[in-house]
């Protein structure tokens, strides 16, 4: 029974979602939007569980003085400080805790932590991508065999297409690069996308029909 009820629910809602795609009527849309709202509601409760999980893992690391235990200290400090600043705001001439309204979002400390710590750190992480692309490209473009050599040549052509100093060769390289991107590259991409589409439908059908139960912890 513990397994059959979730499977029945998956079947009912799965079949509804398939038919919903073909039924544009307002009533069908209304049920669809209503179900989507549930995701937000479940998400809020799950977030509380998530934060509890983060606190438990971090506190355990701090308690046992595990290697790198300073990082969880910073994580916990950041978490609780942001919650504190987020609920502290200025209203009616005085500072106070506001749990039901959004004064905390304009708290200068909340904004400063977000604008001058969070955003620069995130940008730094994203900027790392440039260096990792270079190192990954170096590894990919080593001409170890015929296919890798082909990849190297194709990559060089695509990279050189914006070079303004190639004179008469510039047009030939640009045309070749466009052909590479629009013909073989696009063909391969579309083949993968068709495969993914069919795989998605296949997996969805397996889940709806109860053949695939891995998401319930049972294969």
């Amino acid at each position: 029974m513990r397994r059959q009820i979730p499977l029945a629910l998956v079947f009912i809602f799965g079949v509804f979602m398939i038919f919903q795609y073909f039924v544009p009527h307002e009533s069908s849309e209304w049920i669809y939007e209503f179900l989507l709202d549930w995701i937000y509601i479940i998400g809020i409760f799950a977030l509380a569980l998530g934060i509890w999980s983060l606190i438990r893992v971090s506190v355990a690391k701090i308690k046992t003085r595990k290697s790198g235990w300073g990082y969880p200290v910073i994580t916990m400090a950041g978490l609780f400080l942001m919650i504190l600043f987020g609920f502290t705001g200025y209203r009616d001439g005085s500072w106070g805790f506001h749990f039901m309204t959004a004064e905390g979002l304009s708290n200068p400390m909340f904004r400063n932590f977000f604008d001058y710590i969070m955003i620069p750190i995130q940008s730094t992480m994203f900027a790392l991508l440039a260096f990792f692309i270079a190192s990954a490209a170096y590894r990919a473009f080593r001409a170890r065999n015929v296919l890798a050599s082909l990849l190297l040549v194709a990559a060089l052509v695509v990279m050189l297409r914006f070079n303004p100093y190639l004179g008469p060769f510039g047009t030939i390289i640009a045309d070749t690069a466009s052909w590479l991107l629009n013909v073989p590259n696009l063909a391969a991409k579309r083949a993968i996308i068709i495969g993914i589409g069919l795989g998605m439908v296949g997996t969805a059908l397996k889940i709806i029909l109860g053949i695939e139960r891995g998401y319930m912890g049972k294969g």
Binding site: I18, Y21, F22, V23, P24, H25, E26, I42, G43, A46, L47, A48, L49, G50, I51, S53, L54, R56, V57, S67, G68, Y71, M118, I121, Q122, M125, F126, L128, L129, F132, S135, A136, A137, R139, A140, K189, I192, I193, I194, G195, I196, L198, G199, M200, V201, G202, T203, A204, L205, K206, I207, L209, I211, E212, G214, Y215, M216, G217, K218, G219
Partner: protein, 451 residues
């Protein structure tokens, strides 16, 4: 003296000639625009409910004015008018008051608004008395249709009630807005939602055929038919990777990606996680699963817990195997990279939905010297994983992995259905190529899908 008079006369004539010339080269004033003759109106105006939608929309079509792009070529645009009862003004004033109201007053106004909205169909019956024409949009010259799309939200000023009589007319407008030609009035027309989107019939047929194929092959597999599935190097490497981690005494890091629990890629990843967790429990290796989404975390916890139970080692399971990190993309990447560099896992597995973080994760894993197996359905991220990981499951292989790992006949049956569907797609693509070359529009139109 005679000569002097002649010079003065010439000077005066020249002055008037110049003045006249300057007057002629000036910009045309509005009196010139007034001389535009009235254009011919649009003809054959029709109004009908928009097809394949949720309602609240009417489509107008007409034949262009003969002065649009031809004839006097004087039509610049078409203005579309809908007949609206005066009653709508009262409704609007209620809405305006509601915008600034709070508490019980707002509640009363909301009630009055809903009562007024319920009266819209009746109010439209008062046509042509007690109402007037309101401009609802403009179509440029050369355009012979217009979709009057209303809003389904009753609180919005653009709310358009279904099953209500509407009347329309279209004005052909010239450069002088005062010179225009109104069309004949069409109506009544009612908008309503449809129960089947006929524009999606090809998709419906495809889903039906694919569903039947899946059921057919699953039934065949249940009866014991032998089904061959080509080897997937990435999945075959999973057992070796877990064995390597056990020998080295190092953990296995499993990353579910940034997808939500509603993404098929993440669901496929749960299945693979279940299989991996079972092996991990059997080999008594350490597993680390940092999560980006709290719902994904709770599902993953259940999956790993059930896998440990299946392996006969429920006591080895503890909740912190799967833990939540953050829902901020790069903060999550920083945390996972930190774990990689501190814990130095023997194997990193990236299965699910990934975005810009894919290469940062995979390159850090490569630097840490871990064996890496990745699988994603995000086409843009595949090249990064292929370059940085030892094995990559490309697109659909991610979905096939669970069937391949389990080797259960009914799961393999669904893979066979996918193979047949792919064969059908290849045949149809070849036929489509032929049809496009030979201009078989009827065949091409069979596959056209509208939203």
């Amino acid at each position: 003296m005679k000569c002097k008079s002649l010079v003065i006369l010439l000077f005066v004539c020249g002055f008037f000639a110049l003045a006249a010339a300057e007057e002629g080269s000036g910009p045309p004033d509005s009196t010139h625009v007034d001389s535009i003759p009235p254009p011919t109106p649009v003809s054959m105006l029709t109004a009908r409910d928009s097809e394949n939608d949720h309602g609240h929309s009417v489509t107008l079509m007409w034949e262009l004015s003969t002065d649009d792009g031809a004839g006097q070529n004087s039509v610049l645009s078409y203005e579309i008018f809908r007949w609206v009862p005066f009653f709508m003004d009262t409704l609007q004033s209620i809405r305006d008051s509601l915008a600034g109201a709070e508490g019980t007053i707002a509640e009363q106004l909301r009630k009055r608004r809903d009562q007024a909205i319920a009266m819209i169909p009746g109010a439209h019956k008062s046509y042509p008395e007690q109402g007037g024409w309101r401009k609802i949009g403009t179509a440029l010259s050369g355009q012979s249709s217009y979709e009057d799309v209303g809003v389904k939200d009753r609180g919005s000023p653009d709310y358009m009630a279904d099953h209500t009589d509407y009347y329309y007319l279209v004005d052909a407008v010239t450069a002088d807005p005062a010179i225009r030609a109104p069309s004949e009035i069409v109506g009544p027309v009612q908008s309503f939602g449809q129960f089947f989107n006929t524009g999606r019939i090809p998709v419906f047929v495809a889903v039906l055929v694919f569903g039947l194929l899946t059921i057919l092959f699953v039934t065949r597999a249940r009866r014991g038919a032998e089904l061959y599935v080509r080897p997937l190097a990435g999945i075959e490497a999973v057992d070796d990777a877990i064995g390597r981690a056990t020998e080295m005494g190092k953990p296995i890091l499993y990353v579910l990606g940034l997808g939500s629990a509603a993404d098929i890629g993440t669901i496929a990843s749960f299945t693979i996680l279940g299989r991996v967790a079972k092996r991990v429990a059997e080999y008594q290796t350490k597993l680390i699963v940092p999560c980006y989404d709290p719902i994904v975390m709770t599902v993953a916890q259940e999956t790993v817990k059930a896998a440990f139970l299946d392996a006969g080692r429920p006591d080895d399971y503890y909740e912190d195997i799967v833990y939540f990190v953050t829902q901020s993309q790069f903060a999550y990447v920083a945390a996972v990279n930190g774990t990689m560099l501190r814990e130095l896992p023997a194997t990193n597995m990236y299965m699910g939905v990934f975005f810009a973080e894919s290469l940062i994760l995979a390159e850090t894993g490569a630097l840490a010297g871990s064996i890496q197996i990745a699988g994603t359905d995000q086409v843009a991220q595949l090249p990064f994983f292929i370059v940085a990981c030892d094995y990559t499951l490309i697109g659909e292989e991610l979905y096939a992995a669970s069937a391949y790992l389990g080797r259960e006949p009914i799961l393999l049956g669904s893979l066979k259905a996918q193979d047949y569907a792919k064969a059908a797609v290849i045949i149809l693509a070849a036929l489509g190529l032929l049809a496009a070359s030979l201009n078989w529009t009827a065949f091409i139109n069979l596959f056209s899908v509208t939203s």
